[in-house]
């Protein structure tokens, strides 16, 4: 046996609830025992389109949170943005419908052993996994600040109970429809300084993660980010989801974001390497 995908299992998960929240759908699935294995940062892979679907690949979604409900089985929640065909199909399914779901997959956010001051930054639905993370960090005595950003208010996902789990919540929208007008990166430096942040956890579009990493580097603080690469399998067998990452030996390798990620150390990512293999990558020729 190996440790890859080690707590993952495949289940027929019944949709327990599917509610529209702003631009997103908050969906709850009955997943049984596997809920107990999920950690903040892990993701699920769901088959879409039903039988005879022209879509042959699963779709990945960050786990928003899980509940262990004993004998009735655990619940797993995700936040879905209806985007293309697959996510739209999923958000159109009603409670009672069962989907083929694999979870938990991928790496989780690293939890510090010391009570640190953490800043959680989410872009769009990227906020979803941060609330569960915030609970864990709080239970470890960490202070948690949060910044959420999106193009517009409808795309800010910040449920009430989620908000309660953080010490401060700053919202930034590009059109100013809620919170301050601007990007998350406009406010992050101020918060880092004001609250003496030790570590940033982030989840959102690649461009945002890169911009955050620039800031964290400048401040010399840690940055763990959950990246979103196009995935065909989600379990490490296809090699489509790779991104160039620096290892401890300084060597750049093309690593799979589904099993060596999605949560990675921001400083290890070779940013801006879309459509090119960075020079010096292991095996580049």
């Amino acid at each position: 046996m190996t440790s890859i995908n080690k707590s993952a299992s495949q289940v027929w998960a019944e949709i327990v609830s599917n509610k529209k929240v702003g631009a997103y759908h908050h969906m709850v699935f009955q997943v049984g025992e596997l809920a107990t294995h999920a950690k903040p940062g892990n993701f699920v892979a769901i088959a879409v389109g039903g039988s005879n679907s022209a879509m042959v690949l699963r779709r990945a979604f960050a786990i928003y949170r899980t509940f262990d409900r004993g004998v009735t089985g655990g619940l797993l929640e995700i936040v879905v943005a209806p985007h293309g065909a697959g996510s739209t199909w999923l958000t159109n399914q009603n409670p009672g419908f069962k989907v083929d779901l694999i979870a938990p997959l991928g790496t989780a956010f690293g939890i510090p052993t010391q009570p640190v001051r953490a800043l959680l930054v989410g872009g769009g639905y990227g906020s979803a996994p941060l609330f569960g993370l915030s609970e864990v960090l709080k239970s470890r005595g960490c202070r948690v600040d949060m910044v959420l950003g999106a193009s517009t208010a409808m795309k800010i996902y910040a449920p009430l109970d989620g908000k309660r789990s953080v010490s401060s919540l700053t919202i930034a929208t590009e059109d100013g429809s809620t919170g301050i007008t601007g990007k998350v990166t406009d406010v992050i430096p101020g918060i880092i300084e004001a609250n003496s942040i030790d570590i940033i956890y982030s989840c959102g579009p690649m461009g945002m993660l890169e911009a955050i990493n620039k800031i964290s580097s400048e401040f010399g603080i840690m940055h763990q980010c959950a990246i979103e690469e196009s995935m065909a399998c989600g379990i490490g067998v296809c090699m489509t989801c790779v991104l160039p990452m620096k290892g401890e030996d300084g060597q750049i390798r093309m690593l799979r974001s589904c099993i060596d990620g999605p949560v990675v150390d921001g400083d290890n990512v070779v940013w801006g390497a879309k459509r090119v293999i960075p020079e010096g990558t292991w095996g580049a020729n």
Binding site: T2, Q10, A54, V56, I102, E229, V237, C238, M239, T240
Partner: protein
């Protein structure tokens, strides 16, 4: 008792359902979902001489009933592969088919020499659908002479025992012609088919979606092409064993390839949609065969050819 065994060249397999090269990782990734020793064989990702980063991303695009990939043969190279992957697979009790790929005829020769003394390998799949750097990057399997040269290099260097299965691309004017050449060059069996060359243009960015521009089309979309290729080659070379693949996602699909002439079937893209697809297909195919009255897999191989005379 139903006999599910099959042979490719001299190699025997307990059942005909294999993983497809490049679609099962190192085996470790799937072992969480099922016992990989229950596979007919695990076909490893095509391994090259040296470590290889593969192509830049994006490397994939979903297409109607299929997908494009351009992984570019990312891998650790033969030495690390033999050091890490093979021992682990052997420890699991897996039946192993090693797939190799080269950029020159000499590469194939060296790879064969490195493998000839390795124990625990059942067969060699020789992926000749790779660009030949010595010939303007043209794919070996696209031309009879280069296809032949690559297989001859393996044949000369592999020693007596290990069956050679030459994996061909369907992107040729006559796949039968290429099949005849590689068999003449010493291939014991044929793997049909590799992916079909395709492209997707992202209509948002208005440029090819894949960083490598073109990619290989796989999945159910290409199954009719696989069935045709297998049928044509089995017609022309009935005594050459075929490992079939291309769009198999159910026992029914695997049965279709068997009827066309495949002695075993590899499952690729279906695993991405469903990690346990291979195990399900193994069960379903067996049930299909039994429900059609076959006592053994062998009786069904190429049955679509034989029954023609009967009607």
């Amino acid at each position: 008792m139903f006999n599910y065994q099959t042979k490719l060249g001299q190699a025997e397999f307990s059942n005909p359902i294999f993983t497809a090269s490049g679609c099962a990782g190192s085996g470790k990734e799937l072992s969480q979902f099922f016992d990989i020793s229950e596979l007919g064989a695990i076909v490893t990702k095509s391994i090259m001489l040296k470590p290889r980063s593969g192509r830049a991303t994006p490397r994939m695009a979903e297409t109607p009933s299929g997908m494009l990939n351009s992984i570019g043969l990312q891998g650790p190279g033969i030495d690390l592969f033999l050091e890490n992957d093979i021992p682990w697979l052997r420890d699991q009790g897996a039946t192993i088919v090693v797939s190799i790929a080269g950029e020159s005829v000499e590469d194939y020769a060296v790879l064969a020499r490195k493998l000839r003394a390795v124990s625990g390998i059942s067969a060699l799949e020789v992926n000749i659908s790779c660009p030949n750097v010595e010939n303007r990057g043209q794919v070996f399997a696209c031309h009879p002479t280069t296809a032949r040269a690559a297989i001859e290099a393996v044949r000369r260097n592999i020693g007596g025992e290990l069956p050679i299965i030459a994996k061909l691309t369907p992107d040729v004017t006559s796949i039968v012609e290429i099949a005849e050449e590689v068999v003449a060059a010493g291939a014991d069996g044929l793997a049909l088919i590799n992916t079909v060359l395709g492209m997707v243009i992202d209509t948002n960015t208005m440029r090819p979606k894949l960083a490598g521009k073109t990619g290989g089309l796989s999945g159910p979309a290409i199954r009719p092409v696989a069935v045709r290729a297998i049928y044509q080659v089995h017609s022309a070379l009935p005594h050459v064993k075929i490992l079939g693949m291309g769009g198999v996602a159910s026992g029914r699909d695997a049965f279709e390839l068997i009827l066309a002439g495949a002695s075993a079937v590899s499952v690729g893209t279906a695993t991405f949609g469903n990690p346990t697809a291979v195990m399900q297909i193994k069960e379903e195919l067996k049930n299909e065969l039994i429900s059609h009255g076959f006592d053994s897999l062998q009786e069904a191989v190429g049955y679509a050819h034989r029954s023609e005379g009967n009607i």
